[in-house]
């Protein structure tokens, strides 16, 4: 599988990561190597094999909807890069 620079740039955008030109070059090369290694999985016949996304049987865990103690606003906001009052601050998104 070939992965070109354009694809890497597009995927980086999907992942919301800005890459410098040099990084993009290097990453594209490395990802190509890794993907061609991963391609050896194609050797394996997987007909009628069920996928395992979790090793244990996973089921929804529900609890009664009863209010209980949680983090205080002050604690929850303590690590915010930018805040205003009781809110996280982000750049304006509505014109």
């Amino acid at each position: 599988m070939a992965i070109d620079k354009k694809t890497v740039e597009y995927v980086a955008h999907l992942a919301r990561i800005e890459l410098q030109t040099q990084e993009l070059e290097k990453l594209s090369r490395q990802l190509e190597d890794i993907l061609s290694f991963i391609d050896k999985l194609k050797k394996q016949d997987i007909t009628n094999i069920a996928p395992t996304s979790h090793i244990l049987p996973i089921h929804n865990v529900l609890r009664e909807d009863i209010p209980r103690e949680s983090l205080s606003v002050e604690k929850a906001l303590k690590n915010a890069p930018k805040r205003q009052g009781n809110f996280f601050t982000v750049p304006k998104i509505i014109e």
């Binding site: 992942a15 919301r16 410098q20 490395q30 890794i34 999985l41 997987i46 069920a50 890069p81």
Partner: protein, 487 residues
């Protein structure tokens, strides 16, 4: 005092609160003396060493198992990806610079309830646990106490190095593809990855949620069992933790291994393994036979697919987990940007290191439209085959024994420019995570150059007691775990 194990210290501390202060002081001194060379801890200086937890731990709520203060006064060192209330937890990444969690991970709460002292200095790691050498840390690499030019392994390299060099009594690490066992092997200490679901992941900053487990890194097997007694168990805050009783693991230690059936998978002794490692492992297997166990060659035919399956599943899960670092609620935010999307992209571009970007982008790619079936879904199917290999073997055998790593510790810088080569150093440890089974690495000898070699023991889900039984039987009849690096 810093040289002792937890179980040796427990006797000292029992009725003497002053003794646990002395232990913390001894560790502080050791860190001041040698950590500039090892760099096992991050954000030193040691003069700022403090701890949370009480010398006289408060009584636990009724009915809770960890009521007994089994680790009273024992200092424990914690990997930088496990949340400690009020103490920086940065995953050794710039993107979490300055992050002080507003709560304790469940394992930290349990340690404190058992009377342990949780140290404020956290141990070094590859950024977000992405790596096998601890070179991917924002704070720079940790050095192996047995040879300062070598890596300590990773990603829990800091935890393994501080335990090996007596800068700690015992430590916690996390293991997604070998991140506890491989550094334990490289540093000559004991590292356990519990069964998936045995230990709560609440408060462990997630890498790959279907693979991650927290586990102990200790100076011997008894300490590993002691720590597991405290940190195991169901947690309503982690829906993947399993609601079954935690046994007293120390009870498994004194059972002999006569008649125990041990499988030796042939796929672990072929190409790629260094001859010296192979030789040391063969000797260790002979020792286990001498102790009355029955060994036989077995096959885990899909072993060769473990690394490619892992690097699809782990990166896919990581790309999703690391989406939370958006420069809004916590962590690093770029100084200038034009709009919201640009803020995300610049903050993440500047905040994540090379390996993190590589994995997030690879993970995003294998999940993206048009590639999902070819990569992600195929990997999940081959994961089933890998798991079934183990199911078959454990139908007949009590455990499986392998090398932990195909090589001893390698040189700093040797593999960092070649990600694929680095990924292959996890070849023997990854399968346990994919299959969800428990595995332990114990010291079993040295190379001619004096680097430790680790023996890996694997068992079926929730059979940690078998691991402790085999590990302790081996340990009682060898001296490897008592060897200390000259530093």
């Amino acid at each position: 005092m810093n040289k002792l194990t937890a179980h040796e210290l427990i006797e000292n501390i029992k009725n003497n609160n002053a003794a646990s202060i002395q232990v913390v002081e001894a560790i502080e001194k050791r860190v001041k003396d040698i950590d500039a060379k090892i760099k096992g801890y991050v954000r030193t200086p040691a003069s700022e060493l403090s701890y949370s937890g009480d010398i006289k731990p408060p009584a636990c709520p009724a009915g809770r198992q960890s009521h007994k203060a089994t680790l009273k006064g024992i200092p424990i060192s914690i990997k930088d990806n496990i949340c400690t209330d009020g103490f920086n937890t940065e995953c050794c990444s710039k993107i979490l610079e300055g992050f002080k969690p507003p709560y304790d991970a469940t394992v930290i709460r349990k340690l404190k309830e058992a009377g342990a002292l949780v140290l404020s200095l956290k141990t070094n790691m590859d950024e977000f646990a992405f790596g096998s050498s601890t070179e991917n840390s924002f704070f720079g690499p940790t050095h192996n106490p047995w040879d300062l030019e070598c890596v300590p392994g990773g990603s829990s390299g800091g935890s393994a190095a501080v335990v090996a060099s007596d800068e700690a009594i015992a430590a916690l690490g996390s293991d997604t593809g070998g991140s506890i066992r491989q550094p334990a092997s490289f540093c000559g200490v004991v590292g356990l990855k519990p069964t998936y679901g045995r230990v709560s992941r609440y408060g462990l900053i997630a890498f790959a949620s279907s693979l991650d487990q927290i586990g102990p890194i200790t100076k011997d097997t008894r300490d590993s069992a002691l720590l597991m007694n405290v940190i195991s168990g169901y947690d309503p805050n982690d829906s993947t933790s399993v609601d079954i009783e935690t046994p007293d693991y120390t009870k498994a230690l004194d059972k002999d291994i006569k008649g125990l059936k041990i499988g030796i998978p042939k796929e672990y002794f072929v190409e790629g393994i260094e001859p010296e490692v192979k030789e040391v492992i063969r000797e260790a297997i002979k020792k286990l036979e001498g102790l009355g166990s029955i060994t036989k060659e077995v096959s885990l035919p899909h072993t060769e697919y473990a690394v490619p399956v892992y690097y699809i599943i782990a990166t896919a899960e990581a790309s999703s987990n690391l989406a939370r670092f958006d420069a809004v609620q916590y962590g690093y935010r770029a100084a200038s940007f034009t709009n919201l999307i640009d803020m995300y992209k610049k903050s993440r571009g500047e905040g994540f290191g090379q390996e993190a970007k590589r994995r997030i982008i690879l993970g995003t790619f294998v999940l993206s439209h048009g590639y999902y079936d070819a990569y992600y879904l195929r990997a999940l199917k081959v994961r089933t085959l890998i798991k079934e290999d183990f199911d078959k073997v454990f139908g007949e055998f009590d455990c499986v024994v392998t090398p932990t790593s195909p090589s001893p510790a390698f040189k700093i810088g040797e593999k960092i420019e070649d990600p694929l080569k680095m990924y292959l150093s996890d070849i023997y440890t990854i399968s346990a995570n994919l299959a969800g089974i428990p595995a332990i690495s114990i010291p079993c000898g040295f190379t001619k150059k004096g680097l430790p070699v680790g023996l890996q023991i694997l068992a079926k889900p929730f059979a940690e007691e078998t691991l402790f039984r085999v590990a302790n039987a081996y340990e009682q009849n060898t001296e490897w775990h008592k060897m200390k690096p000259k530093i």
